[in-house]
């Protein structure tokens, strides 16, 4: 099964567009990954280290208001707090719409945007509330996006030592019981250690047991962060003695280098290659992928030492990647993004989602479709199986959006017959072509095309 431009844009990108041609070759898909992040520069997202309001600003502003209660400064300090609260909410919404718009405007099909989504899901973090809702996308921008076509171990280290992950998986307060701090109280928290093995590296079928979780939790002690200083290594919390994880014994001199060394070992472990090779194939090709494809990806991972550019290229060069049968269902975010791309909705419309008229057409419908943006239930992220997304209530939400949103987003709807060909490509099924002609209104015709399995699968 050879390369196909339509499949390249739909299966490995953010969909077909009437304005942007699909990539003409595998080389054309990979070229932008090796070069500058053009779309990232055109539609910027502030990385975590520069994102505001910072957690320290929250803390100070809240404290000033608290102290001013009952004094003449009370109203001014409360207003300052409210401004910050509103700013954070606006930043969160802007992050969401920029992420959406990048995929709508991406040239060469949008492979980079898809890879960022895949890895952001692999390393899921969930904000805890209003103080950090606007910091999840900046975490992805900082710790994940730069690495999607580089070395996995660099991404792993960037993610696991990031304040957002350390906070989400409770690492910051984990204290070695026999450390200097531990003798005064406190103790281990094994949350990060467990998910690091189970989800991020060797996988739940990997060769670890409770002892490895415990040892890794001890090894990670000392890794933490504070609101004022960000990530830091605190030797007084580090459990003394050498730890053994998956058969590798690490230095008995606790240090940040030892933690990095352990992360590199986990990144290079053969079980990690197997676990993530399968995950990639499941995400991009089929819920139940061909073992030959998985084996090829696993070999590419091992041979390249986890070079994600090489692994991605290997996937695109595998004949199974171009199997004409569309086996995956687009999750709600990708469904919305590809619909906006097919409709050629201008990025300016997407970037101002709170305008009267188009308000409530982007983030809220995703929740109704079963994907509350950046709020999956746990660190395992969003489901992959088609059956998890296409349920009666979620399907109803997809139908409602497809029937109502295009008319509100565009001044003039396209001709449905041309739209059907532009959105689905040369393999447009007869039934969909017929429905696009037979609907009683343009809006309904566009809606039926978007809701057809031919558009929703990839």
């Amino acid at each position: 099964m050879p390369f196909d431009p339509t499949r390249a844009a739909i299966r490995f990108g953010t969909g077909l567009s009437p304005l942007l041609p699909p990539p003409g070759s595998i080389e054309a898909m990979l070229r932008p990954l090796g070069g500058l992040d053009e779309i990232g520069r055109q539609l910027p997202i502030t990385p975590y280290s520069e994102a505001r309001p910072t957690l320290a600003e929250w803390q100070d502003t809240a404290a000033r208001w608290r102290k001013a209660r009952g004094t003449p400064q009370e109203i001014a300090t409360r207003d300052a707090y409210d401004v910050m609260r509103i700013t954070a909410r606006e930043v969160a919404l802007r992050n969401f719409s920029t992420t959406l718009a990048r995929g709508v405007a991406a040239p060469e099909g949008g492979l980079r945007e898809r890879l960022v989504r895949f890895w952001a899901d692999h390393f899921t973090v969930v904000g805890q509330g209003q103080r950090d809702q606007h910091l999840v996308t900046p975490f992805v921008e900082e710790a994940i996006r730069p690495h999607v076509a580089a070395r996995f171990e660099d991404m792993l280290i960037a993610v696991i030592t990031h304040p957002v992950m350390l906070s989400y998986l409770d690492q910051s307060r984990s204290i070695g019981p026999n450390s200097r701090a531990g003798r005064r109280g406190g103790g281990l928290n094994e949350n990060l250690a467990r998910e690091l093995l189970e989800l991020h590296t060797v996988g739940v079928d990997g060769p670890y047991d409770q002892t490895d979780v415990r040892e890794l939790a001890e090894l990670l002690t000392g890794l933490g962060w504070t609101i004022e200083r960000g990530m830091e290594y605190r030797p007084e919390r580090a459990e003394p003695g050498a730890e053994t994880v998956l058969g590798t014994t690490f230095s008995d001199r606790a240090s940040f280098d030892t933690i990095r060394e352990a992360l590199r070992m986990l990144a290079r472990h053969p079980a990690t290659a197997r676990h993530i090779a399968r995950k990639l194939a499941v995400h991009f090709v089929a819920d139940d992928p061909d073992p030959a494809l998985v084996a090829t990806l696993e070999t590419a991972w091992r041979d390249s030492g986890g070079d994600l550019f090489a692994v991605t290229a290997t996937m695109l060069e595998h004949p199974q990647a171009w199997d004409p049968e569309p086996r995956k269902v687009k999750p709600p975010f990708d469904f919305l993004q590809s619909a906006l791309r097919a409709l050629a909705v201008p990025p300016a419309t997407i970037l101002h989602p709170d305008k009267p008229g188009t308000r409530g057409l982007f983030r809220r419908p995703l929740t109704a479709m079963g994907q509350n943006w950046e709020r999956p239930l746990g660190p395992d992220g969003w489901p992959e199986q088609a059956e998890a997304w296409i349920t009666p209530p979620n399907m109803a939400a997809r139908v409602d959006w497809a029937m109502m949103a295009p008319e509100r987003l565009l001044d003039e709807l396209p001709d449905p017959r041309a739209f059907a060909r532009a959105a689905i490509g040369p393999t447009l099924p007869d039934a969909v072509a017929f429905a696009a002609r037979a609907a009683e209104s343009r809006g309904e015709a566009i809606g039926v095309v978007l809701i057809s399995p031919a558009f929703q699968r990839r």
Partner: protein
């Protein structure tokens, strides 16, 4: 196509190849009445509820040392179960407890062991078997043992996947806030473009079916499913419970949904309290919404595993093994904590860290289904929970 025709077809489509009674040629009359009067609600508590904090074994001498802040400094709740003190987050259920309509089983688990993964643990809890379940849940396999059921008999509620009700037997699935606005022509065209794709076809057909039914009910009742509770409780979990009650008052007999937020690695006293308040809201909403049918209802609240016997370094607990199951409803006899208490001394713990499970919670679920629906022992041990030894009656039904 008229509504009745499509619904009959839908049922046929959803259960095709499962049982002869589901043939689309049968009239809807064959499905009209529910097979039983009793109701079963299974609530999946995702995240691993800490049974040792919900039902604190204050009579066990080892507790205080294991949990210096969680047990030592804890305020007692309104429900006193003797050896166990019930967490104050459940205080609003004290009247239900006193009436014998709320109770618990301690030191139970599924057969899941050792890796302590939420996701694998939940899969086993819902599949109900450590072997290959083929993507089927135990409530669905229970439905398969009764030929001729309609999709309305069982409801999975909410936007999340409910493996427990997935499978070959027809079951409905809906979220109370979902809408579906389509013209008649739009419906026909949707049926046309979905025709070749069973996943999309069946999901859309069922959505249309449910929307029609809810609209018809609303017309008939003038106000419909609103007004089941007294309107004072809020939140997604309350809406799920109200919707479940509205279905169970009608032809539905099985409902399942989940409540999240039990993974309390840090500062558990705050997080667990909130989760238990949500659970209290849920059970009170079910009771109010079911009205007279509450007498014939059993509610089982199950979780993937328990948490460590000792509290961790961050005033929380990590993933463990044995835990607790809560139950409610007029069809069950509560007001007590069932189960064989294994003890909390280090030698009594599982893996020297977790509460030792002394019974498989599937046995409790099996005995409840046996009592409510008259399933025989072999059916439960072979079809519903393959390989389970049902054992002696733990006595949830009295």
């Amino acid at each position: 196509m008229t509504r009745i025709d499509r619904r009959a077809l839908l049922r046929g489509g959803l259960v095709l190849g499962c049982s002869a009674a589901a043939s689309p040629l049968l009239t809807p009359m064959a499905f009209a009445s529910a097979p039983w009067e009793n109701r079963l609600v299974v609530i999946v508590l995702r995240g691993a509820m800490d049974g040792l904090d919900v039902l604190r074994p204050v009579g066990d001498p080892a507790l205080a040392a294991l949990r210096p802040t969680l047990a030592g400094k804890a305020t007692p709740g309104a429900i006193n179960a003797g050896f166990f003190a019930v967490h104050p987050g459940l205080d609003r259920l004290a009247p239900m407890w006193a009436r014998g309509e709320f109770g618990a089983v301690h030191a139970v688990s599924t057969p899941y062991r050792d890796k302590r993964s939420h996701f694998d643990g939940q899969d086993m809890l819902e599949a109900g078997t450590p072997g290959e379940a083929g993507g089927e849940g135990w409530l669905n396999r229970m439905l398969q043992t009764v030929p001729g059921l309609s999709a309305e008999t069982a409801y999975a509620i909410g936007r999340e996947e409910m493996l427990i009700l997935s499978g070959r037997a027809a079951a409905s699935r809906w979220a109370p806030e979902a809408r579906l606005r389509l013209t008649p022509q739009g419906r026909r065209l949707l049926e046309l473009v979905n025709h070749e794709d069973p996943l999309f076809r069946d999901a859309t057909a069922q959505a249309m079916d449910i929307v029609d039914e809810l609209a018809a009910e609303e017309d008939a009742e003038n106000g419909g499913m609103a007004g089941t509770g007294d309107g004072t409780l809020r939140g997604d979990h309350v809406r799920l419970a109200e919707f479940a009650a509205s279905r169970l008052r009608g032809d539905s007999r099985i409902a399942s949904f989940s409540i999240n937020g039990w993974d309390t690695h840090e500062r558990q006293s705050a997080g667990l309290g909130r989760a238990l308040e949500r659970l209290s809201d849920t059970l009170l909403t079910l009771e109010a919404g079911l009205g007279a049918a509450w007498e014939k209802t059993a509610v089982l609240c199950v979780t993937e595993f328990g948490r460590t016997a000792a509290e961790n370094g961050t005033r929380g607990t990590d993933h463990g093994t044995g835990g607790a199951m809560l139950y409610a409803g007029g069809a069950l006899r509560g007001g007590r904590v069932l189960g064989d208490w294994p003890g909390l001394s280090e030698a009594d713990l599982y893996d020297r860290r977790d509460l030792m499970p002394t019974r498989d919670l599937r046995a409790h679920a099996g005995w409840v289904m046996r009592g409510l629906f008259g399933l025989d022992r072999a059916m439960i041990e072979e079809a519903v929970f393959p390989g389970l030894e049902l054992g002696a009656d733990p006595g949830l039904l009295g």
